[in-house]
Amino acid sequence: MLSIQGSTRSGFCDGQTRRDFLKIGGLAMGGLSLPDLLRVEASQGSATKHKAVIMVFLPGGPSHQDIFDLKPDAPSEIRGEFKPISTNVAGIQICEQLPRLAQMADKYTLIRSMADCEPGHDAFQCLTGRSAKRQPPGGWPSFGSIVSKIKGSANPAMPPFVGLSPKMGHMEWARNGDPGYLGVSHAPFQPNRGGGTDDMSLNGVSLDRLHDRAGLLEGFDQMRRELDASGLMSGIDSFNEQAIGVLTSPKLLHALDLSREDPRIVSRYGKGENKNRDDGGPRHTDHFLAARRLVEAGARVVTLGFSRWDYHSDNFKQLREDLPLLDSALSALITDLHERGMDKDVAVVVWGEFGRTPIINAKGGRDHWPRVSCAMLAGGNMRHGQVIGSTDKIAAEPADRPVAFGEVFATLYNHLGIDVNKVTLNDHSGRPQYLIEGGHQPLPELV
């Protein structure tokens, strides 16, 4: 039952058979029966490489008008201190604090009219596409949990869903994506949260001894799997095998170990610090690189939270500290994905929970402004080098093409080959729930 797999064993994307996938994935999919699975797969077309999504959350509500949607012609109490600079795409300008990103605007899309932001300080909407207010029994599952449920692992030694955010003072920002009614099996691996992290490398036992033990277990474990027609026993066998894989071929640990990366590439991402900014997230540029490495190793969804953007005072001073780091980390990630030929398979989304007030307050800050915010999408084989939507003269309201969070999520599901018009998952009351609220469809501008 339990076999030790060598570190050379190939993953799903390069050689594992479909039968293996069904064996492992079949259990990870839980409620989906085989015909459901086939239906889901049929709507995906065939993919040789696994597709993935990196979700970057900027806790606190970054000021859209100082980053991606500058209004140089607005009165000074509105336009603020930064000037726009031109990008390598004619007609698109962004903040002067983002010179590297300005050189690659052809590789991403800016959405300047995110129109249905929830007002609370919470990553929930950026992880689920939904409001936290009205939740079904069990709670809404996050994007990553849904992908874990529907697609399972892409590589037997890698969890499908990894969340890099550590604990934060304001815990609603620290969410990595809750599994909701899909249950803990689809919770993200959270290597920066303690708990399961320690389980990923051998604890006080040598590799040889683990081999010994696994042999012993196989000898003792004589109960016939056939006893259990539900598939749970064989599921446990599959996951045990996968766990031994994690322990003997530590793909996961290696992905998180940046010392294995070319130092020149590490330095591209900039020098952040692994320390939380007040009650927000860490300014840890390494997480962007870790996300890329995790995806490369087989993760399907990686979430991370970066710094803290709730600037009620000294807005510009703080942005001068944060924007250059964001610029280097994000531009390095996008460059990396392109250089490695991963840009078609990996989509990146960057956003916060809402925008900020047009008028700068007495303390030089901007306050909460859920009427509009902005988002960036990169990679994912989408049409980039464009801006979707716009705001009025003072960046206070969407002026055209208001975009809903659901549309962005539909775009991301579409990228992973999941048809939001067909797939439903049952909540705890047995009600089939679509993955997107309000029937939103993938952004036609991008797909």
Partner: protein, 732 residues
């Protein structure tokens, strides 16, 4: 096979005949047009039926509100949707047939009867129909019940019955869905194709808010000549079923297996080695019954079942200040179970709870379940096996429940009021004098309380409506109350409800053995809702005591109870079992050392205990058992195989491995001990040999301290391996 074809042919002819016999008559929007939209799934929740509609065109979900649909089709969009001057130019048809781009694709064939009906309806000036037109009152399906061979098939015929006594064949326009998709699939035209699994499968048939069910029994047809002894009516009814479908049951389980199984199921713990020894030594043929009684009288039974109910009754500690209340409530649940409080009393004391936490701890339920609709939905799902959630916003798609039913039922809770009581975050719950009423969001009418399927009640302002509700619930003839509980408990012991999911008991989701469900419910009611009586009846049956090991015929059986279905130990039970095996005293904050995980009062411990979290101890956030996840995961495997905690406990001085190493007895005896503790059975000779060979291999050629260390490590390895065997992880 020939007979089958004949039946099929006759049925098909009947279907065609039924259609041909329809003479042209004025079309009625609700009776004739809406069903076309439903069948084309135009009004499904993923399309125009969702609350926001699709691309500006909204239909009521599944066509439950024809009046609204009529408005939307005929009057909106500046009349472009229907175009009487040239019906085929109507947007409804050009979109439906995908002649112009349609996001939903082609839903309608221009050659179909449905298309012709739509053309005719538009030609006739889009009549809505008059009030005097017959209304559909029910549907029926032919045949309703059938015995069919493996891989057999059956064409269904569905008839709609109208208020004027007329009938109409609606086979083509009805919707079909099998409840066990591994057993059967259905076509759009009502053809049922069976696969090769024996047992029972039901097909739900829906047509415009009415439902009917087709049930197929699929025998395996094996000879059933050896049946286990009949201990009570459960065995009669299960054996009868097994004979009908020709599926021979497994043998009875041996004493060790029985003891482990029943101890885990009643008390949530492993039997001790001493218990095992005593039990095996007793010669009395009644010893299993005696053991059952002893377990039911132990405080551990009350703790284990309090754990189950505490989660379902949402006993959460969401604030630190809730600790007192959650503990009092848990204690009340535990004591109620220990005292074997009749179930109807138990439920009444929760549902109609009044007072403060000290006077009456179950008011804690109202602290967690705050809103009238939630209270009603929880009560319906938990105690009546009825999921009302759908009917909040629209008619329930698989059920008879309408929004009127939903709000009438919710009105029972409309007078529940609360005010602050002595301590922070604690409340006094009381009935506020006045008329109980809730507003139906669709009709905007105020409705008074009515039980499910019952007449509106006229209550005096001083009457607490919740007492009327609990009185109705516990009436002997209540069709939901006893059935739901016996099904829930059946599932606890058999890992599969007679109805699945256990709290979704609707006409269209029939039990696999209806006679058994009815008999259990009748017996439970007659016993005065005696919970221990119910458990005793279940676990004394031969059915419960069957072996899990399949014979040549029943390996794939998942619904006839021809053998015991193994179930994984749940998070708390497994945690306690691992600690028992490693001889660790548990230590939870604020609890006496050694308190079992099974005996924790609320969900707050999940946060600090990764083991409980990763194995899915529920957070008590819903009234559904499904919150307790049964799935395996990579994180669980990694934890059991490699957790630092477990490694530390394995290697600890004076831990189980250390003590065994120092134990001067022969290794064989020590291995036997470990099997007793972990698996509640004797090891066989091969297993002993396998284990001692590992010890010998590790210690070979070593001396003194080195040999001691090697031997201790060998015992650590053996313990590690035992706790990762499926035999340990499962109750079987």
């Amino acid at each position: 096979m020939r007979t089958l074809q004949l039946i099929l042919l006759t049925t098909l002819l009947t279907v065609m005949h039924g259609l041909a016999a329809d003479a042209p008559r004025p079309l009625n929007f609700a009776n004739d047009i809406v069903p076309i939209l439903t069948k084309g799934s135009c009004n499904s929740g993923g399309c125009h039926g969702k609350a926001s509609g699709q691309n500006g065109f909204k239909l009521s979900l599944l066509g439950f509100e024809p009046q609204e649909d009529y408005e939307h089709i005929v009057k909106e969009a500046r009349g472009r949707r229907v175009f009487p001057a040239a019906p085929e130019q109507s947007l409804l048809l050009t979109k439906g047939t995908a002649q112009v781009p349609h996001g939903g694709g082609k839903k309608l064939d221009p050659k179909s009867e449905e298309y012709q009906d739509l053309i005719r309806w538009i030609n006739e000036g889009m009549p809505y129909g008059s009030d005097s037109d017959p209304k559909m009152v029910s549907i029926s399906v032919e045949p309703p019940v059938m015995t069919l061979p493996l891989k057999g098939s059956q064409q269904l015929k569905v008839t709609a019955h109208y208020s004027d006594g007329s009938t109409r064949d609606v086979t083509r326009r009805a919707l079909y869905e099998a409840n066990e998709k591994a057993m059967a699939e259905t076509s759009e035209t009502g053809h049922v194709q069976l696969f090769d699994l024996p047992g029972d499968v039901a097909v739900m048939v829906r047509y415009q808010g009415k439902v009917a069910t087709f049930r197929a029994t699929i025998p395996l047809g094996a000879p059933v000549d050896k049946l286990p002894p009949v201990r009570n009516y459960i065995d009669d009814l299960v054996n009868a079923k097994l004979k009908t479908i020709g599926m021979p049951p497994s043998d009875l389980a041996d004493d060790s297996t029985f003891l482990r199984r029943v101890t885990l199921d009643i008390t949530g713990r492993l039997p001790t080695a001493a218990e095992l020894k005593d039990f095996l030594a007793v010669q009395d043929p009644q010893k299993r019954s005696a053991k059952i009684d002893a377990l039911l009288d132990s405080p551990e039974y009350a703790e284990f079942f309090a754990n189950k109910w505490s989660a379902l009754l949402r006993n959460q500690r969401t604030q630190p200040t809730y600790a007192r209340g959650s503990y009092l409530f848990w204690q009340w649940i535990r004591d109620s179970i220990a005292d074997n409080k009749p179930y109807d009393h138990f439920v009444r004391e929760v549902v109609a709870a009044s007072g403060d936490l000290d006077q009456h701890p179950p008011v804690a339920w109202y602290r967690q379940v705050k809103d009238m609709k939630q209270q009603m939905e929880d009560v319906a799902q938990l105690f009546l096996g009825t999921r009302m959630q759908c009917a909040q916003c629209h008619h329930h798609p698989f059920e008879k429940w309408s929004q009127q039913d939903y709000y009438s039922f919710a009105a029972f809770f409309s007078t529940v009021s609360r005010k602050a009581s002595g301590q922070k975050d604690e409340e006094l719950i009381f009935h506020k004098r006045g008329t109980a009423t809730a507003t139906n969001i669709r009709t905007k009418a105020n409705v008074v309380p009515a039980s499910l399927g019952g007449e509106p009640l006229k209550l005096k302002p001083e009457q607490d409506p919740r007492l009327q509700l609990t009185e109705w619930m516990s009436r002997q003839d209540n069709p939901f109350f006893a059935h739901t509980l016996v099904n829930r408990y059946w599932k606890h012991f058999f890992n599969r409800g007679l109805v699945e999911p256990e709290d979704d008991m609707r006409e269209t989701n029939p039990p696999v053995n209806p006679e058994l469900l009815n008999a259990l419910a009748a017996d439970f009611t007659k016993s005065g809702y005696d919970m221990k009586h119910l458990i005793r009846t279940i676990v004394n049956s031969s059915t419960y005591q069957l072996s899990a090991v399949p014979n040549a015929f029943n390996a794939r059986d998942r619904q006839n109870f021809s053998r015991y279905y193994p179930k994984r130990l749940n998070a708390e039970v497994l945690y306690d079992a691992v600690n028992r095996l490693l001889d660790v005293e548990t230590n939870f904050a604020g609890q006496a050392p050694g308190t079992r995980a099974v005996a924790l009062p609320d969900n707050s411990y999940n946060q600090s205990n990764y083991f409980l979290t990763v194995f899915g101890r529920p957070d008590s956030s819903s009234a559904c058992e499904c919150e307790r996840t049964q799935e395996a995961s990579l994180a669980q495997s990694l934890h059991l195989l490699n957790a630092a905690d477990i490694q530390t406990q394995l290697a600890r001085g004076n831990g189980r491995a250390d003590v065994l190493t120092k134990d001067p007895r022969p290794d064989d005896d020590k291995i036997t001990d470990l099997y007793h503790i972990a698996l509640s059975r004797d090891p066989n000779a091969a297993e002993v040999k396998f284990a001692t060979a590992h010890i010998d291999k590790k210690t070979n050629g070593k001396k003194d301290q080195e040999a001691f260390t090697a031997k201790k490590e060998a015992f650590e390895d053996i313990l590690w391996a035992l706790l990762n065997t499926k035999e340990f992880l499962f109750n079987h």
